[in-house]
């Protein structure tokens, strides 16, 4: 038995027109946590799809050696049978089934051909204990949060006697507490001898947890770093990923702040399913021209709910309070009115709420401002192409042309299309919800630059983010929100992660009625 549990040797995978992977060699030691880093489109996901049998043997060149055997995978079942389990970024749980049902989906515990529900519940409970989740296994998974759903996925992997666990962006949708719990869990698995491969954009987590890091760029392996060696830190990884040193992850800028552009007063929002539940409670905030303001809060604090309720009442019920744009109170009861009032909102979930993935770049950009392209009732497709091409150039959207289908772009480029759409509306205030979620370091830097450019053009920008360092890096002022209440406001000169974290975790006092 060698010390490597997995060796992928000289893997080359071609798609029509592109080499997704070129001569990639990856060696993973038994019992280690091995991180894979690379910008979006570098080839990480393709490599994992090769490993898990999504691309069957024969569709690529090179060999996969797992536990000293050359693999001949035909599909995902084959790899799972060997103990290679992949957990994708988009969780693969069936929302209306219970936790226990999900864990044993397609792997049901049966006796004499029928499902043994008692044993299923019992086994599920054992697995949940292993991942540190104290929920009733009969709870439907749509009733628990994303963090807990991630743990259910891991429990599901454990039920398959996993030897090599692959996690694709496991903490992308998690808040800090849930992320920390997940990383602890991985450390614990490691001490029990399990091998993990983790793909992540969160370099601080990789620095904290990984034993080795392999960096992929443009389908080539650049290097494999021993994370326990000296001088290997986040900056070192970034250097490998982007091929240059990035001393500053946030572009420098001189803010020119003008008059107040946007203000909300006494904003109250109730939950659409439960009209008694207050989700945003008496919120007051303002943004000035040329100012970038952050809205920090842990997941479920009411950040997105606040933004979407302001944007055309597109979320929530029993909404009250006032919205002002340039000092005038505006009606935001429908999305159209909010846009006409000068408000734009780019969503946290671009695939579900932001883009028509079937359509091309130019038409996704023009859809919110279609009137501008319409003359005598007819939309001018050539003008759309021209404007789309201009954005493709100025935003550096990597695609062959403005006629390219958005669904085929990488996350960072899709995000740029969403931003282009809203910039083209020419709003007074842009609310950007998680503008850099799930995109790589290089593209993040570009997005920050775009945000700052908007501010320098006199726009008011409100940024919502789960990543505190990001807000500290680009904002002039940050509001903290906790349980629907704005708990604090911090100016740039007073920025400190500790202070903000304290505001973000301020909990309402429980009154005894």
């Amino acid at each position: 038995m060698t010390e490597n549990i997995l060796e992928m040797k000289n893997i080359t995978k071609t798609f029509p027109g592109v080499n997704a992977l070129t001569d990639v060699t990856l060696k993973v030691k038994r019992g280690e946590i091995h991180a894979i880093c690379g910008e979006n489109g570098a080839g990480k996901s393709t490599l994992m799809k090769v490993l898990s049998g999504v691309y069957p043997h024969g569709t690529y060149d090179g060999d996969i050696v797992f536990e000293n055997e050359v693999l001949n995978l035909k599909n995902i079942r084959d790899s799972e049978h060997l103990g290679i389990v992949i957990i994708h970024q988009e969780l693969a749980l069936s929302p209306y089934l219970s936790i226990a049902e999900n864990i044993f989906l397609n792997n049901e515990i049966k006796s004499r051909g029928l499902i043994d529900w008692n044993k299923t519940g019992l086994e599920a409970q054992k697995l949940l204990a292993k991942v540190g989740l104290s929920e009733d296994p009969n709870t439907p998974v749509n009733k628990i949060g994303v963090g807990k759903q991630q743990l259910v996925e891991i429990a599901k992997a454990l039920s398959k006697r996993v030897k090599l666990l692959i996690l694709d962006e496991p903490t992308a949708a998690l808040n800090d507490a849930d992320s920390a719990h997940l990383l602890d869990l991985l450390r614990q698995f490691k001490s029990q001898g399990m091998t993990c491969i983790i793909i992540s954009h969160k370099l601080n987590e990789i620095a904290a947890i990984a034993d080795q890091t392999t960096i992929i760029r443009d389908g080539f392996v650049i290097e494999t770093l021993d994370m326990h060696a000296d001088k290997v830190d986040q900056e070192r990884i970034i250097k490998g990923m982007v091929g240059r040193e990035m001393n500053n992850r946030y572009p420098a800028r001189e803010p020119k702040i003008g008059d107040e552009v946007f203000r909300i007063e006494n904003w109250m929002v109730h939950h659409p399913d439960d009209h008694e539940r207050v989700v945003v409670d008496q919120a007051n905030l303002n943004v000035k021209a040329g100012e970038i303001v952050g809205l920090a809060g842990i997941m479920g604090a009411g950040r997105t709910e606040l933004a979407r309720s302001v944007f055309g009442h597109s979320w929530g019920a029993k909404i009250s309070g006032s919205v002002f744009v340039n000092g005038k109170e505006v009606n935001v009861k429908t999305v159209r009115r909010a846009i006409d009032a000068g408000i734009a909102y780019s969503t946290e979930d671009r695939k579900r709420f932001g883009l028509n993935l079937l359509d091309d770049i130019k038409r996704n950009i023009s859809i919110a401002s279609l009137e501008d392209f319409t003359k005598r009732g007819l939309v001018n497709a050539n003008e759309e192409f021209k404007v789309g091409s201009e954005y493709r150039e100025s935003m550096n959207i990597k695609a062959p042309s403005a006629n390219s289908i958005v669904g085929k772009l990488s996350g960072g480029n899709q995000q740029k299309v969403v931003l282009s759409q809203w910039i083209n509306v020419d709003p007074e205030i842009l609310i950007l919800d998680e503008p850099t979620r799930g995109i790589d370091v290089g593209a993040k830097y570009e997005i920050y630059t775009i945000i700052q450019e908007l501010a320098s053009r006199g726009k008011a920008v409100l940024v919502i983010s789960s990543e505190l360092p990001e807000l500290l890096g680009i904002c002039d002022r940050i509001y903290a929100i906790a349980e629907g209440v704005i708990t604090g406001e911090v100016a740039r000169k007073d920025f400190s992660p500790e202070l903000l974290m304290q505001y973000m975790t301020t909990v309402k006092e429980v009154s005894n009625v």
Binding site: G312, S314, F353
Partner: protein, 416 residues
């Protein structure tokens, strides 16, 4: 590091290079239609499928399905379905009977005078719009899935058709009314006779020539516009071949029709609708909103599109086109009957899916659906001429629908 393929030599290689960038999938159903026409031209006894009268029949027999297919593709692109169109067509046929013909006295409609043909048609279309408003209200503003609303509508409007007609037929219709389903432009060829041309309908030839010129003009204008904005265009060879082929085809059909009774009014109406609705779907905000809603409903809402309004008007539009279809079939049969339009919804839906629309919504074209409908029409017509039994006809039509969609799915997967 793109791998440069070796330049292909020889005639085939050259041809392949010339045709690089041609979307084969889009052109595939068109080729399928041509193949079918060629097949039946060879197999039917005495090449019956190529006779002028048969071409004329082909148009008027399928007109009412194609009208429905236009409305249906819009509904399907938005992610809905409409099962009620056949029943609505029957109901409106009955209504047009009440309006246009002096009604049957025993049915209690005798107080209503018979109206001139254009009032009857206009009235019937207005009632169709009201039917669409009824269904659009439930889909758009109450939020009931279109499948349920129109399944109910399928029964509801068939019931209303029966009630209106009280189990009898209304007819015959005045000639002017009948012309829309059964008439021809200058059937007597008076213009041709003035010029001493007896064998061909001169008006039909003129309309055909104008049609070809209009098509070529619009193709060239579009291409020039795209080049001006330095957009990618189809390879020049393919562009010329395709347009020449289209011109020849239109000329061929037009020539055939001119040897029969001329251009049917149904065809005039149909071409008018195809042009109008292609422009609506491609170049108006309404059309673009339909694609946006079908492509991603949530994103459409957050882009400020009034989804309810678009859905409502989609069904109003479908109601009006169903009415038109009902008028066409009634005019053609010269009688309003309770069983009219039975199963039309299935033919219309098949046309749309054979024409490349997606079940999930967001994808589809008016012209594709028309070609899809033509494929079914040519197939049915050819099999009739070959004396194929109804049992085989149904089986084959079912398989054609299945294989057409399977091919579409397969080719999409391949290009991924």
């Amino acid at each position: 590091m793109s791998n440069i393929k070796e330049q292909e030599s020889g005639v085939i290689g050259k041809l392949r290079n010339r045709l690089k960038g041609v979307d084969l999938r889009q052109n595939a159903i068109f080729l399928a239609l041509l193949t079918l026409i060629a097949y039946f031209a060879v197999t039917t006894p005495n090449h019956a499928s190529l006779t002028p009268d048969n071409w004329s029949n082909l148009v008027v027999q399928n007109g009412y399905i194609l009208v429905l297919a236009i409305g249906m593709v819009m509904i399907i692109i938005a992610g809905h379905i409409d099962l009620s169109v056949g029943s609505v067509a029957a109901f409106i046929g009955a209504v047009s009977g009440i309006l246009a013909v002096r009604p049957l006295e025993q049915n209690g409609w005798d107080w209503l005078p018979a109206s001139p043909w254009f009032v009857a048609i206009l009235g019937a279309i207005i009632i169709g719009a009201l039917v669409g408003m009824w269904q659009g209200f439930w889909v758009a503003y109450v939020g009931i899935p279109a499948f349920i609303v129109t399944l109910a509508g399928m029964l509801l409007f068939r019931g209303l058709a029966l009630m209106t007609l009280q189990n009898s037929n209304i007819g015959p219709f005045p000639d002017a009314f009948r012309a829309i389903g059964n008439g021809f432009v200058d059937k007597e060829n008076t213009l041709g006779k003035d010029f001493g041309i007896e064998s061909h309908n001169l008006v039909a030839l003129i309309i055909t020539a104008v049609g070809i010129l209009a098509l070529l003009w619009s193709s060239f204008a579009t291409r020039r516009g795209r080049i001006k904005y330095s957009q990618s265009v189809e390879p020049r060879t393919w562009f010329f071949v395709k347009n020449a082929l289209l011109a020849v085809m239109i000329g061929f059909v037009g020539n055939k029709l001119s040897q029969s009774s001329g251009i049917p009014w149904t065809l005039v109406l149909l071409i008018f609708l195809i042009v109008i609705y292609t422009v609506i779907m491609k170049q108006t905000t309404f059309g673009r909103h339909i694609y946006a809603i079908g492509g991603n409903l949530h994103a459409a809402v957050l882009s400020g599109i009034n989804v309810r309004r678009v859905n409502f008007w989609l069904f109003v539009n479908m109601g009006m086109l169903s009415a038109l279809s009902g008028i066409l079939i009634t005019a053609r049969m010269n009688s309003a009957v309770p069983k009219a339009g039975d199963g039309f919804e299935l033919d219309a839906i098949s046309s749309v899916f054979i024409g490349g629309a997606s079940v999930q919504g967001g994808v589809g074209t008016v012209t594709g659906s028309i070609v899809g409908g033509m494929i079914q029409g040519v197939l049915g017509n050819g099999m009739n001429l070959n004396s194929v039994g109804i049992d085989f006809q149904m089986t084959i039509k079912g398989l054609v629908l299945l294989f057409a969609v399977a091919f579409d799915v397969w080719s999409k997967r391949r290009t991924k």
